[in-house]
Symmetry: D2
Subunit: 254 residues, 4 copies
Amino acid sequence: MISEGEYVLLYSEKGDKWLIKIRKDGVFSTDLGIIQHNDIIEKSFGEYVLTHKNRKIWIIKPSIYDYILKTRRRTQIIYPKDIGYIIMKLGVKPDSKILEIGTGSGALTTGLAWILEKDGLIDTYEKRSEFLDLAKENISRINPKASINFHNEDAIESTFKKEFYDIAFLDIDSPWLIIDKVYEALKPSGRIGILLPTYNQVDKVLPSLEKRFIDIEGAEIFKRELQLKHGKIRPLFRMIGFTAILITGIKIIY
Amino acid sequence: MISEGEYVLLYSEKGDKWLIKIRKDGVFSTDLGIIQHNDIIEKSFGEYVLTHKNRKIWIIKPSIYDYILKTRRRTQIIYPKDIGYIIMKLGVKPDSKILEIGTGSGALTTGLAWILEKDGLIDTYEKRSEFLDLAKENISRINPKASINFHNEDAIESTFKKEFYDIAFLDIDSPWLIIDKVYEALKPSGRIGILLPTYNQVDKVLPSLEKRFIDIEGAEIFKRELQLKHGKIRPLFRMIGFTAILITGIKIIY
Amino acid sequence: MISEGEYVLLYSEKGDKWLIKIRKDGVFSTDLGIIQHNDIIEKSFGEYVLTHKNRKIWIIKPSIYDYILKTRRRTQIIYPKDIGYIIMKLGVKPDSKILEIGTGSGALTTGLAWILEKDGLIDTYEKRSEFLDLAKENISRINPKASINFHNEDAIESTFKKEFYDIAFLDIDSPWLIIDKVYEALKPSGRIGILLPTYNQVDKVLPSLEKRFIDIEGAEIFKRELQLKHGKIRPLFRMIGFTAILITGIKIIY
Amino acid sequence: MISEGEYVLLYSEKGDKWLIKIRKDGVFSTDLGIIQHNDIIEKSFGEYVLTHKNRKIWIIKPSIYDYILKTRRRTQIIYPKDIGYIIMKLGVKPDSKILEIGTGSGALTTGLAWILEKDGLIDTYEKRSEFLDLAKENISRINPKASINFHNEDAIESTFKKEFYDIAFLDIDSPWLIIDKVYEALKPSGRIGILLPTYNQVDKVLPSLEKRFIDIEGAEIFKRELQLKHGKIRPLFRMIGFTAILITGIKIIY
């Protein structure tokens, strides 16, 4: 049974998806007709409800992928394909201590929090309070178990804990201004990740990483989707050609 | 301090990486000279040891990315870029109950186990015992906290728990032969993932997914690496053009 | 000076492009204002005219790239990136004798005709007369010098000249039905190209090529565009993910 | 019949290719055995000869694709996928007048010359005489009909004809030093192409193009090859990830 206050992913016959929070007596309108929240409350995940036009809408338990794509956003978000790679490359695990500079709309924070347990921690910094408020709201939807500490500060002026974090991730305009402090904040052998939207920034950040970080990699992750029509398999005509460049490295004592 | 029995990633000035297990009085030979394990034991992660030729080798705490790339393999493995996407798309989290058909060398199993906690579980099936033995060995390196149950069976003849798993992942030649049972084993609204090496298999598996699964997606994940020379940023000339096609979907009660 | 009857490419400050034919006293409306054809007639290529709103519109001599992108179409067209590769891979040159099965809207025919001289020839087959009429119109814009012979026939029932063509290109649904005849029509050592929209068709056509053709290649050509803002170089977010698969080979006497 | 002095492409059962010039009494050794040139002279294109080990080697009439891939090189060459796109984007045709700065090993020159007729022309500049000599040799293999004028000069110090060229192509380290002169050398509405190996150079060249050129595009062309095994269609695991960035534009009178 679905509970009030729970988030559900609705999936229509046409492939549309909506992420909604269940409220008693709530009503949700789609182009396939109206759905009563109360009808959903009586069902279990995996079942469907009918709209008033008798069209099926499936009730799905949202996964992190859905939460991220349905991030309410005031910034460019980080996509699941990139978050997945970040998790693997930086080695995020349930007890990771993570420093995030540039919360933005909180998509990455949500992705990381999905994997963290009680002994995990994220210190996330965002200077614009309106972004941080939105990020808090977005992250709250998944009820994170770890401590997520939101710092409404310009990280360039912040003081970080020393040699405390396993992982640091930077998604700000000028990461080179802050690499010194991030280096200090990371445990030796800790991992850094930097998201950059242009090649110019890649070039600019490199000198600040030299000597202090090894295994420095720059990568772009693409996703190419297939048309899944039986007998007519081909890639989709449209594709997202670029989201971001990911720079990663490992802190050393030099 | 590094302990005996611990795995460390060694990283040379030239960018070579080795994953080794520390043994008292052990010796490791590289093309940059010989390293004494005892020298490593006295150090901390992030520091370096010198070879007998006086070359630096950094001691790094291995992350899941390193464990996966250093998987001892007798099969094609699943790469971190793909594992990261699978984790995000299927929504793996610390308490996930996962059914894996086709353990192979255990690269994906290791990636999943990295994220699972005590209340997480993987039932993994592999008919070839030599693969399963290797997989066990590979996975043991990360000391998984969750229950990883290795089944040396041809999954086509196995009986699975009913509506027990949050996630099922299939990496076998003919997944269409087993979709019926996997459907039964998944909780409603549970997620399925299928790895396929050819478009012909994509076409063949589709009919078995129809009606019972929604949100069916076929995707390939690419990684394009950059040459990170200051003033000379460009993609690398060489690239892995293909690893696998990932099919995913959500179980519905139809 | 631009002549009446000539095609010109108009290029606006905003980057919009239009391919128009100059007519005395003609008028062309854009969202930046109205242009008099007579104003264009007085100019030379590379100069600009002003709209009645005083906005600049540049007068450009169209190139084959422009003609192809401005193909009036009733079918999917073949894109310049693919045509360029076909020309190179099949070795099109001014005196090539080319057999084209499936004229469609004539985009490839136009691209090939651009390179052919008087001693070049294209026999192009299209069963649907409405496509062929459109193709003729599209191709006539470049005043081809070579003989372009339009055959309004279902090529499956046509008789082709024997060992006459240097190159054959097939863009039809079921090329496997016609490979026998195409093989006969090609000179020994002649080149075949086949455009296919799905992997299923790739699989289906292969047996018909075996033994009789060598150097069989299947390729997709991608184009990834850059955002060219000084100081902010990055790929564009949007990209065409797929146009077609190109199969090529060389006829042998076996 | 094949003539002495003619170039032939030899194609082995294993898929190896060799481009050789036929000499009376010549001998060619392969890992499949020895071939007598005299045996080839008696054959026609499309037929095969037998090695002394009785293995088949097919005799193929080389196409521009083969000549380019078999370019003898002392520099990075421009690949057919890129040359094909350049031909389409810049609108190369049999009577084009082309200015090429940076002949290198002559791969692009050969590709352009393949399409030019007697009324076509290439002025190509290369400061290193050893490259130019090699380029001449490479281009001579296709017996070009157009005038190919080789200038052993540092183009930065050369004087070009004014408003003479339809197309200019630059493949040098610092194209920005020469754009002024190239602009003058192009006909109004003429097309420029610039090959660049790094994003830093893309950024650097942009200001020199502004205002004087429109329709400025930056693009990379990828080629992804398929494994063509019946029933097992998939992309190849290996792929060339990058060759070059192509910048193109159109000269305007501003």
